[in-house]
């Protein structure tokens, strides 16, 4: 399973817009870490995406997590003002582990 994280917007949007996506592949991870990522992905996928956040939000960041597995691709997209706890947990994990 390959998971790609792209980050947009925020106070430092001009920096983020130039940064490449961060990628992690379970095949390169130790067993426990791969299992943890799979669990977090499954939990985030299971939660219905929140409706669009407050349109008055300014400088909030948005995140796109693309999961590629067995020829299928799923994209989860949320923002600082809409993200579920499950999405936040996955995001946090990726920010600490993805290259």
């Amino acid at each position: 399973m390959k998971v790609t994280l792209t980050t947009h917007g925020g106070l430092a949007a001009a920096i983020h817009i130039q940064l490449p996506p961060r990628v992690v592949d379970t095949e390169t991870l130790p067993g426990p870490a791969a299992a943890e990522l799979s669990r977090l992905v499954a939990a985030a996928k299971a939660v219905k995406a929140s409706p669009a956040g407050d349109e008055r939000a300014r400088d909030a960041m948005s995140y796109m997590i693309t999961v590629e597995e067995r020829g299928q691709s799923t994209t989860l997209a949320q923002s600082d003002v809409t993200m579920s706890a499950q999405f936040a947990a996955l995001l946090n994990w990726l920010q600490q582990h993805a290259a």
Binding site: H8, G9, A13, A14, D80, A85, A88, N92
Partner: protein, 399 residues
């Protein structure tokens, strides 16, 4: 006018006026109706004045800081410091609290504005949001600050201009309401940078020449080779490194960056093309010299209030030119500096001299009334008051 309003209120109580509305005499009915209408208007004016009056710190714009404790759910955050509470042992909490206080005082003392909504809106801040969160934002009601990852970014409360930047998004929301996309979005971002820099300059009593004109120069870790997130003095030159890339902000319309109105495109480059109006404000400020929050800031703040959600760079430039005329006179040094500042970033003021197209557009679009319209309204109200006083005198004489 207010003394006349008080006199009218004493002479004829509202319940008597309402009774007079049933009178058989049409002149008495008309006089009573006029009095009720005028009194209502004066009451409205007094309430507006009351909201504008300088207030004791605890009464208006009360500050509350919450600690997210590394969580991302704001409702789960815990109260950390309130207006009347003692200082925290946590520096982030105190910096957010103090930054709100400085920004609130700036708006009150310099622009006679009572908090975000000019009606004493509470200032609520959330610190320690998420884990290693590299951002600060305004969510439409409150301000949120991350700790930074410790690699590129540090705590976002370290920067007073960042705190003021976020609070200023609230002010923009309550004034022009600039749409957060394309040019109006870049103006939204630029106004927050302008206020962020002005609050810092005001707190340090810096002149335009002495100021660094940097936004967020305290949010990078010491090891990062970057001056700041943005430079209003030199857009495009805030950073240039392998890690961060090159600052993409343009400093001239010829370099305007066309991006899609999507998350990926920064909503049409709102954080990128803001470099153009940022540079214009810097040029006007240094062109005038002295304190930037005075003439230049006052002109920009006036233009913000006269703008609408869809205002573009050209309209905003024209509005600043008009505001400079209203505040300092046609052909004044201030107005010439505004014209020169915009010209240097590639925007020629239109509708010169005198009435710009922005004024007509304001009126046509239902935007904030301009000064001429306000003057006309005040004159009409004064005339009505005189007539009303005459009618009341006649009524009294007839009793």
């Amino acid at each position: 006018m207010s003394s006349a309003g008080r006199a009218l209120g004493c002479i004829t109580p509202p319940h008597i006026l309402e009774k007079l509305l049933d009178s058989d005499d049409s002149d008495i009915r008309q006089a009573a109706l006029n009095t009720l209408l005028t009194t209502a208007r004066l009451r409205g004016e007094r309430s507006v004045r009351a909201s504008l009056a300088p207030s004791a710190a605890p009464a208006n714009g009360r500050r509350t800081i919450f600690d997210c404790q590394s969580g991302t759910s704001l409702p789960m955050a815990v109260l950390a410091r309130s207006e009347d509470g003692s200082a925290s042992t946590d520096d982030s909490i105190n910096r957010a609290f103090d930054g709100f206080g400085t920004t609130r005082r700036f708006y009150q003392d310099v622009y006679d504005r009572n908090s975000i909504d000019d009606r004493g809106m509470r200032l609520e801040g959330y610190v320690h949001r998420g884990v290693k969160y590299n951002n600060a934002f305004w969510d439409g009601r409150e301000m949120v600050f991350g700790d930074g990852d410790g690699i590129i970014f540090t705590d976002f409360t370290n920067s007073l201009d960042v705190i003021a930047h976020e609070l200023a998004h609230g002010v923009t929301e309550h004034t022009s309401g600039f749409e957060y996309r394309n040019q109006s979005g870049a103006l939204n971002e630029s106004m927050s940078d302008v206020v962020g820099s002005l609050v810092k300059q005001w707190s340090l009593r810096q002149t335009a020449d002495d100021a660094d004109w940097l936004i967020g120069n305290e949010v990078f870790t010491p090891g990062i080779n970057a001056d700041a997130l943005r430079s209003m003095k030199a857009p495009g030159k805030a950073y240039d490194s392998e890690l961060l890339g090159t600052d993409p902000q343009p400093d001239h319309m010829s370099k305007f960056v066309h991006l899609p109105d999507t998350d990926e495109g920064d909503d049409g480059g709102v954080h990128i093309n803001s470099g153009i109006p940022n540079k214009a404000f810097y040029l006007v400020s240094v062109g005038l010299g002295g304190y930037a929050w005075e003439a230049a800031g006052l002109i920009w703040y006036g233009a913000l209030k006269a703008s609408t959600v869809t205002t573009q760079f050209q309209e905003f430039a024209d509005t600043t030119y008009l505001k400079a005329e209203e505040l300092y006179g046609a052909g004044s040094t201030e107005q010439e500096a505004v014209q020169a500042g915009w010209r240097e970033v590639g925007i020629q003021i239109t509708g010169m001299p005198g009435r710009s197209s922005a004024r007509k557009q304001d009126a046509a679009s239902g935007g904030a009334p301009d000064m001429a319209a306000l003057t006309e309204q005040i004159e009409a109200l004064s005339t009505q008051l005189k007539e009303l006083a005459e009618e009341v005198r006649s009524l009294k004489a007839g009793k």
